[in-house]
Amino acid sequence: MEFSTIIQILDSAVRLSTPLLLACLAGLYSERSGIFDIGLEGKMLAGAFAAGAMSAYAGMPVTEGGLGMTWGMAWMGVLAAVAVSIVLAMIHGFASITLRGNQLISGVAINFFAAGSTVLIGQHWFRSGGQTPPLSGAQRFGPINLPFADAVKDVPFLGPIYEGLISGHNILVYIAIATVPLTSWLLFRTRFGLRLRAVGENPGAVDTAGISVVRQRYAAVLIAGILCGLAGAYLSLGTSAAGFVKDMSAGKGFIALAALIFAKWRPRAALGACLLFGLLEAIGNRYQSIDLGAFVVPVQFMQALPYILTVVILAGFIGKAIPPAAGGEPYVKER
């Protein structure tokens, strides 16, 4: 295999793992605080729609009823995505924290709501089968060329790695990667993080210490909402889709959950897990069918590979993953 091919596959792995990583970290905050979040998928999808719709609207000329902006439309999209995702996160919080309802059912409902309402509203607004209008220019996030990328391109080995792999992604990719050390620091080096982890392990103890379990959990769910919004915005503004397409999250929220378990709820390991899933998808995309001589691996198998791998990883061939002790359990204060 050519070295440039490897770089291309790795580059595509980074792009494909970005939404997984953002969603995975979202799940990490939520689950570390004791709230299961099956609804990552739906929040991501709703975010993707909001981002696509808002960015299109912002860039539409005033004469056609838009805002007529010429720059910053993509950021408007991000704001909309985060806002919508936060609303869904708060519904999940209300159901699972305040009303002490079933967290799995709440997440499933949010996924269906997002799947249905995005098409419904998209059709109402744009009348093209639930898609948002194609985005171009500043309505999307373009690649950022890091300094000296062109200059060092011809340096053997390191040059292509810097130019082809590290440089040339859009801003959301770098934000996603920067979120990893930020999350590590927040969770393991701050008082907020200590409390967040504590409500996921032993909410009673946190309550006894005079700290509000409810507030702490809402904060975690809120952060999860923000990150899912970013993941969604990446799908519609940062990929070649260039706009929202019906059901574009395609199970990424669930794969992110599997990555979270694989990573045993740790931020740095989450980065590794998501990169692994991204890499598999990249390989699947590049090699549509593999000829093994005796028989040909069919394209459908390659497409199902990330899902198959998710099952394999969940089967725990990677050692035991122990979830936060109070995960999924509503906290009932003693009376």
Partner: protein
């Protein structure tokens, strides 16, 4: 839980109030996309219950009884089987494999064989997630969802590869005439000739009765419910979690697979792509609505049958996309399921106050 709440309030009043809220919010969504919700209700009801529509409504009802029972029986063991979609799809492969294997002389034999094929394939598709849950603790919600995706890829592979009929269309050859099961029109001429509802509706009702017997009248059912209430207590009583999880999930997958008798043998009469069309997911809403009780499931399945058929009319007559049904379904799951306490707590307070007043 239900302190001071009579049983009828718990079983009937609270779900109905929650459902009402879900419909109210659905109405707001309809208004949001610039349509008239009152008109939408009229279109749905007349479209779903008219002479033409009822045959379709009952066809969908049949699907939802099967998938609803599948989710419901898993709920009794506190398992969340969200893989009905994949299990029903693979159940269709089972139906096709059985019906294509020989020329069936009569539909009565064919439907029994097809049912066995559907159940076996559906159960097999649930078996791996069940085993991984029981043995390795892998989260059944995520694995069953993954199996939905894997299943749909497998069906595409089969229909463009080994099972494909000559030609370019991704479908199998048609089943032999002996495998065609009677539609409701064949039995009761009052039904419209084109309506797809068929005798598998009766299979669904039999299945509902069988689930009731199993859950409430057998030792296994008792063990399932005991396990669902408290795994620890069940283990202490000598009930094996591995056995319960496996048995419940195999039954659940088998019930979901049975849906294919209705869609693949009854309607399409060959295996085509996307026979399930979301019915596996509707089963979740149906099971929640029906309080995991077979009677409730049948009623809720009929309600969703009306919604599905009526939803088709909505896109026809008012230009509201079919996805409206998915939104209604989501809101029902939300209000009847996760937001239930929003209704329950005030109702309980009311009852407590009423009781005090009476005493």
């Amino acid at each position: 839980m239900n302190k001071g709440l009579p049983k009828w309030a718990d079983v009937v009043l609270i779900p109905l109030l929650s459902l009402l809220l879900a419909f109210l919010v659905s109405g707001l969504v309809v208004m949001f996309i610039g349509k008239d919700p009152i008109q939408a209700v009229q279109v749905m009801v007349s479209g779903a219950l008219g002479k033409f529509g009822i045959g379709y409504t009952l066809y969908y009802t049949t699907n939802f009884i099967f998938t609803g029972l599948a989710v419901a029986i898993a709920f009794h063991a506190r398992m969340f089987n969200i893989g009905g979609e994949g299990q029903a799809g693979i159940g269709g492969v089972g139906v096709a494999a059985v019906l294509l294997s020989v020329a069936w002389p009569h539909w009565t034999i064919a439907i029994v064989a097809a049912s066995l094929g559907a159940m076996a394939f559906g159960a097999a598709w649930a078996a791996i997630p069940a085993y991984l849950q029981a043995k390795r603790g892998s989260h059944i919600v995520i694995t069953t969802i993954m199996f939905n995706w894997i299943g749909s890829a497998l069906i595409v592979y089969l229909l463009v590869g080994p099972m494909q009929a000559p030609g370019m269309v991704p479908e199998t050859v048609g089943f032999s005439a002996g495998a065609a099961i009677p539609t409701l029109h064949d039995i009761f001429p009052a039904f419209d000739k084109h309506a797809p509802a068929n005798v598998s509706l009766f299979l669904a009702l039999i299945a509902a009765f069988a689930v009731w017997v199993l859950v409430w009248k057998t030792r296994l059912g008792y063990e399932i419910r005991a396990f669902g209430h408290s795994e620890k207590a069940a283990v202490y009583a000598g009930i094996s979690p591995l056995k319960i999880i496996m048995v419940v999930m195999l039954i659940s997958g088998g019930l979901a697979g049975m849906m294919a008798v209705n869609t693949v043998q009854g309607e399409a009469e060959r295996l085509i792509l996307d026979t399930v069309q979301g019915a596996g997911f509707v089963g979740i809403a149906v099971a929640l609505m029906g309080r995991s009780h077979p009677v409730g499931v049948v009623l809720a399945a009929f309600l969703f049958g009306i919604l599905y058929q009526g939803g088709g009319e909505l896109s026809f007559e008012m230009g509201i996309p079919r996805e409206m049904i998915v939104v209604i379904q989501a809101l029902v799951i939300m209000f009847v399921g996760s937001l239930e306490n929003m209704v329950r707590i005030p109702v309980e307070r009311l009852f407590v106050r009423f009781d005090k007043g009476a005493a």
